[in-house]
Structures are given as C-alpha cells and as structure tokens.
C-alpha cells in the first residue's frame, strides 16, 4: 500500500507515524474511470483529514466518502475546511509538495488519516462532509493523543506500476 507519514508536535508527547494505507475501492474505480473513460476526474486540490479514536472499529476498502461505518472524522482543528494535500509527480510516483497541516483546537485522540477529492463538485473540502470520492485511509494499531495547540503534519506518497494479468 502507499503510505501516510505524520508527525505531532506540541503539548504532550510528540509522535511520528508511518502508516501503510488502504485505498478505497471507490477511489480505484474512479481513478481508472477518469483515466480511460472521461469520468469526472479528480481535480485539485485533494484533501486530507483525521480519523478519530472515538467510535473507531475499522477501516475498510469498501468505505466511501458518504459511508464509513467503522470510523468518524476528527474535526477539532482550526478552520472550517480540510487541509489541502499538494503533490509532485516523478517517475509515476506522487510525493508531497505541501503537506496537510492541522492546528488542533481541542485535546483528543487520533487513530489515522484519510484522503478525499471533490472530483470537481462542491463540498468535499468541508469538515465532516460526505461529498466527493474517498481515495484512501490509514489507521494505526493504537490511538495517539493530541492536545489543544498541537500541530499534526501529514505527508502522502503513492506509486503506480504496470502489471500483467
């Protein structure tokens, strides 16, 4: 799986995570369709957000932006919109050019991250929104504490390769 890399700095114990992610089937279908079938393509920007420890049971490749029964979004960070993820492309690999940065407004616990694109439609950038296409999620084996005023910085890397079937 491609991966998320995240750091937490601020009140409390810092942490660093590298999580291999699960790509949503919704995202894979959409990527293939937008490359080959003129389906509404992913558009800039793509958004990253946080998965809360509260209520977490699991992530699933069947999750969608509209439906993810095993997790909910952690939204206690500055701003009404999800941070943007910007990337650069080199040798069929996307790497972060501008990481997603979350400045926290409350203490809590984080379990992971997710990435969503609005595919040219309105709404997927709003915190808590169910709009857009879910691209990927990642969840740690344990929760990670964060405190008000702390900052989480998230990077994402993805590589494509050809395979024969």
């Amino acid at each position: 799986m491609p991966f998320y890399e995240a750091t937490y700095r601020g009140p409390g114990k810092p942490w660093r995570l590298r999580l291999r992610n699960t790509i949503a089937l919704e995202g894979l279908d959409h990527l293939l369709g937008s490359a080959l079938d003129a389906q509404a393509p992913f558009s800039r920007p793509t958004y990253i957000s946080l998965i809360a420890e509260t209520g977490f049971t699991e992530i699933s490749d069947e999750d969608t932006a509209a439906s993810h029964a095993g997790w909910q979004e952690f939204t206690d960070y500055i701003g009404s919109t999800r941070p943007v993820y910007s990337s650069t492309l080199d040798n069929a690999t996307l790497t972060t050019s501008t990481p997603a940065i979350f400045t926290l407004t409350a203490s809590g616990s984080i379990r992971g991250f997710f990435m969503v694109n609005n595919v040219g439609l309105a709404g997927a950038n709003s915190k808590g929104s169910s709009a857009g296409v879910l691209w990927s999620m990642a969840a740690s084996d344990e929760s990670h504490s964060v405190s008000r005023g702390g900052v989480i910085t998230v990077h994402y890397t993805l590589k494509a390769a050809g395979g024969h079937r």
Partner: protein, 181 residues
C-alpha cells in the same frame, strides 16, 4: 556503539494491468484467437496517477497494430510518436466506418465497476495487404496520422507473428484492471 541504520521502508503501489482479446477472421471464419497480456507504458502510468492531482478526461482511445517487419522490442518508454523498437502497421481500413485513415475505436464500458473497465462495443481492422503482425496497442488517437503528444497506453505481443491475407480482419477488445499490490 554504532547505531543501526533503519532500512528504507518499502511501499507498495497502485497496479494497473490488462489484456487485449483479439479475434482474427479469414473469409468470415475465425482463424485464430488470442488473449494478449499487455504492458502499460510509463506515460500511461503517469496519466493514471496524475488523475489524483488534477485529472483531465482523456477521450478517443483507438487500437493499433504492430508490424512484424523489423520488429525488435517493446519498451516501457514507448510513446505513440517514438517507439524505436517497432513500427505501426497501417495497411487496413476500419470495417465499421470504412475509413482508411482512422484507427478502430475502443469504446469502454461505463461506469467502471469492480475495478475493471472493458470493451463495450467492438471495432475491426480489415487488411488491405497481406500482413504479418507482431502485436497490438491501445492509444489515445483514433486517426492514424496523429501521433504527436499522444499516449501509447498499452502494447501487447502475440505469442508468435500472426499472418493475415488481404481481406482478413482483426477485432480487438481491451480490458484494464486496477488494484493495490
């Protein structure tokens, strides 16, 4: 004591792969069939992955044929404009339209389901000369003469060079699948 260096973590990839389903006919009867595994080009992978950044819809996919004459090799870096190891075979008309200047069009199923996209309706080459072919490709140009800045999405080689007489036909379908691995 020397600190142990952490190994560079490996990461897996989004994998794209597919195949051509080719049927050749002579005098209306099936002469041979072959499922041809394909190799996606570098340009294809970059097209796919850039959909995540700022996708742009790509339309008008067409099939082409690889001539066995002077065939040397397929390359990951092949584009429709530059493919040093092979030449395109263009001595055909498109049966569905009668065009001698077009490539047969690939019409995909819509929408993508179960991470698979395949052919919705067939398109057929009819040979205007006796042909010996090495393989088949898919590109985003449906006009034979338009190759500049065009992507060769995938190429595939037949198990062995394939012969067709004048009037022989080839119908090709294409299926592409995406997964993580």
């Amino acid at each position: 004591m020397k600190k142990k260096r952490k190994p560079k973590p490996k990461y897996d990839r989004v994998l794209l792969g597919g195949w051509f389903d080719v049927v050749a006919r002579e005098r209306g009867k099936v002469a041979w069939r072959e499922r041809v595994k394909n190799g996606l080009t570098e340009a294809a992978l970059e097209l796919a992955i850039t959909q995540l950044q700022d996708g742009e819809a790509t339309l008008n996919w067409g099939f082409g044929l690889i001539d066995n004459d002077d065939f040397e090799e397929l390359a990951f870096t092949d584009t429709l404009e530059t493919h040093a190891g092979w030449t395109e075979f263009t001595d055909y008309t498109v049966v569905e339209t009668g065009s001698a200047t077009a490539r047969p069009q690939w019409t995909p199923t819509h929408p993508v389901t179960n991470q698979l996209i395949t052919t919705d309706s067939a398109s057929t080459f009819e040979m205007t000369v006796s042909a010996t072919l090495a393989g088949v490709f898919l590109c985003n140009s449906v006009i034979k003469s338009i190759v500049l800045e065009k992507i060769c999405w995938a190429t595939g080689l037949f198990d062995a060079p394939r012969h067709l007489p004048i009037g022989g036909t080839i119908t090709s379908g294409y299926t592409c699948a995406i997964e993580v691995g």
